[in-house]
């Protein structure tokens, strides 16, 4: 099988290897791509992993949105290609305007690393398509700035259209409406603060990330097929 998922690596990314292993474990193939790349030819999906893209001394993700690869990510997303931003990747997607809202400092003003319970709020996304709404999952969170916020209009829009895909059962960061992950209108771009790639095996505490990542991989495969049919390359 081709390596058709690109894992974007910024100089300060640090979850890229974990995402690669998790994707490999479910039988799919991913390749790490340097942020200086200008095109994503041959890739049908993108994952932006966690970390501190450019050190994040400025607002998280504020510099990453200007990395050359981000234009290619936006183009792929526009075609309907699945794009997943995990943690810092979620922050990058909001900074790049690919997802609405922003992520602020945690309400407790402290970094939080622990495994929390989240509930699937909607399966209208590439990440949650195969997981029934209401399913509870144990997933690690690991962030200092995961406090999701958006204006009232956006909130009512994403809430009413099923764009909130994951909610915390026990909010660790003060985010609006306990939002842990959201998607765009068309469901192909997803951002979440929890780390599904850190929950790939019971030996490391949880395997609840697997159905989410598998769902994403299947979305990528579906997009790839549809691309071939339509004749886009």
């Amino acid at each position: 099988m081709n390596e058709n998922i690109a894992i974007i690596r910024f100089p300060g990314s640090n979850c890229e290897f974990d995402v690669e292993e998790a994707i490999n474990r479910i039988g799919a193939h991913a390749r790490i791509v340097w942020h200086h790349e200008h095109d994503l030819e041959g890739f049908d999906g993108v994952i932006i992993p966690g970390g501190f893209a450019h050190g994040d001394y400025l607002r998280c993700g504020a510099i990453a949105r200007f990395s050359p690869v981000m234009e290619a990510v936006a183009s792929l997303a526009e075609l309907g290609g699945p794009v997943l931003g995990i943690c810092n990747g979620f922050q990058v997607l909001t900074e790049a305007g690919l997802l609405p809202g922003a992520l602020m400092r945690n309400a407790g003003m402290r970094f939080v690393c622990e495994t929390v319970t989240v509930e699937v709020a909607s399966n209208r996304s590439a990440l949650t398509a195969e997981v029934a709404a209401g399913t509870r999952l144990r997933l690690p969170v690991n962030h200092g700035e995961g406090n999701y916020i958006c204006d009232a209009e956006t909130l009512s829009e994403i809430e009413s259209s099923g764009q909130v895909v994951l909610r915390y059962a026990n909010n660790p960061n003060g985010s609006l409406n306990d939002i842990a992950g959201i998607t765009n209108r068309t469901g192909n771009i997803v951002g979440l603060m929890p780390h599904p790639e850190r929950a790939f095996d019971l030996v490391v505490g949880s395997a609840d990330g697997v159905p989410l990542l598998r769902s994403f991989v299947h979305s990528v495969e579906a997009f790839a097929k549809c691309r071939v049919v339509v004749g886009q390359v």
Partner: protein, 756 residues
Amino acid sequence: MPLTDITQLISDDRRHLPLGLLDEEYRSIIEILGRVPSDVELAMYSVMWSEHCSYKSSRIHLGRLPTKAKHVLVGPGENAGVIDVGDGVAVALRIESHNHPSFIEPYQGAATGVGGILRDIFTMGARPIALMDPLFVGPLEDAHSRYLLDGIVRGIGGYGNSVGVPTVGGQITFDRSYERNPLVNVFCLGVLPVDRLVLGQASGAGNLCVLLGSRTGRDGIGGVSVLASAGFRDDEGGSKRPSVQVGDPYEEKRLIEACLELLDAKLVVGIQDLGGAGLACATSETAARGGVGMDVDVRAVPRREPGMSAIEVMTSESQERMLAIITPSAVDQVLEVCRRWEIEATIVATVTGVDENGIGHLRVLDGPGGAVLADVPAKSLADDAPLYDRPMVAPPDLAERLDGGLANALVSPDYSEDLASMLVDPAWIYRQYDHQLFVNTIFAPGEADATLLRLAGPGIERSQKGLAMSSDANPAWCATDPRRGTRATVAESALNVSATGATPLALVNCLNFGNPEHPQVMWELSESIDGMAEACDALAIPVVGGNVSFYNESAGRDIDPTPTVAVIGLIDIIKHRPPSIGWRDGDFVVLLGERSANAAGSRWARDLHGIRSGQIDEVNLVIHRALCEFVSACVRDEAALEIAPDLVHGLHTIGDGGLGVALAEMCIASGIGCAVDQIVDHRELFSESVSRVLVATLCPTELISAARAKGLRAMEIGTVGGDRLIVSDLVDLKLEDLGARFHDRIDEALGEVASH
């Protein structure tokens, strides 16, 4: 030069005193050079011969530690110890202290401690995959100690999280001894393919030295001498703040990736981090190890600000810098890798040969072919520091200190309250650290007696192996009897590692002591090293590295002797999560190991009732080794066999806080109570004798007879169930209350509402 002239010269020339050099040390320098040193030379000797860099007061004692074993690839003396873990994979490990900087500026002090230890690991060719941070601060009731704890934890998290290395363990000790001199120890472990192992050695005249990473600034000048190698007088902290470095984890992250890429591409002959004593240390050590000389062009060193003197450039401790020795033909490729990672790389020195006497010289030049600012034998800086056999004396009141009579005569009106007040959940600390990155963490902090990781990492073949690690210190035990206390500390650490099913492989130590010019402190160090040597010998655990931190004193008061150890161990097959702290409803509670009714030296006697005299039981190391092997084998079977034998459902070693705290933590972890009825009295409840393990099992008879077959004592002491912790007629506590006291201890002290 005639002797009388030297004496006269030393008394006239006072340049050495503000640098922290003694008259006799200055005399040695003049004798080595055969002339008066230049200012640059004197500055370099002062940092390289500092206590921190030269171990001049401790070296004669450290030689007594056992360091050899078949699997030791690199022992003490290099940047890190390296252990062979089979299948072409090795691990590098080291522990350091960053005590003085953390008192002056807790965030940056702790952060740069993390940065420094990481460089020690990746300079060996290993990718850092785990950090542990043993911390020692004053009591939570003290406002300044809370401020320090907050800053230290934020600093460790701020650097470690961002640089991308998980902090997977550590420990916290609260004690008055550290109120004015907190200790921040930091351990790091890395993994490497054995063939990427590289040493901090220069070789090949004509080879080039490339300075990688940050520009050199005026931060941290004299950090090792005026800061780390002297105590604090009253309120002196503030004026020493400029000697603390400032960290940049993003720079370090790129430096790690660039260096590992350079090593993978075999572009590097030798590599060394710049830490204490900066460029003076990195150049002289690499030259000395390789038996070569080096010409440093001090003008070539990129600087953060204009007007820096050669002395400042050579001794600056600016963070995030490495010195790589490369062949001239590799320059272009090296610069290309660095460009990609946005790392500044500048050729600052050339490797030179030896003179007619076989001596390699470290020369500092003011520009190529410019004035020679320094010309000294490289080895004299790195290896010829004075060796002190400092006077030692046992404390005059030793007999009283050792007498456990008072502690064992103590009674308390409320043992339930005593026990509840001893519970502290360190989650407030480790929740602020990424402890999951690389998805290796099988047992996170708090889940088991030791941290357990998958032995894996980027670039390492996947396997079923696991690495256990535990950092331990118990200064209360060592304060009364440093030898016995250190023996017990090593024994405890080995047992913690064994309790995850692993076999202990190696130990590194961080010896935090007071002022070595105090004979009692030297006695403490010597005793402690003897205790460590005895335990390591008996348990067959080699010491592969260490660090000595002296001058932990303020206002004339030395800290309690605080030898910290970190033991690592290996487990071959992990198919299921091994049993850990916790139990299941209906289990039986078995106490494995020696019974003890000695409350002396316990936290209960010391912290709750103010009795510091008396010592814990001496560890019988032969029995202890058998206990480690038995526990490890039982747990290993649970993890490795297709169908787990179910002999062990949960377990917890007994140490700090005794049997009482161990029982409480088992209850809290599983949310199930227990009733224990075979405890003699409160002394047995709080005794901290270390050779004991609580085991929860469904098959007590089999477990007990298997233990006895190995010559170990074992007995059933109670059963699991209900929502109370009940111990004979001593303790009766509701689980709910226990949990609240445990979880909220630190959060409440810091005025933060718990978020769980």
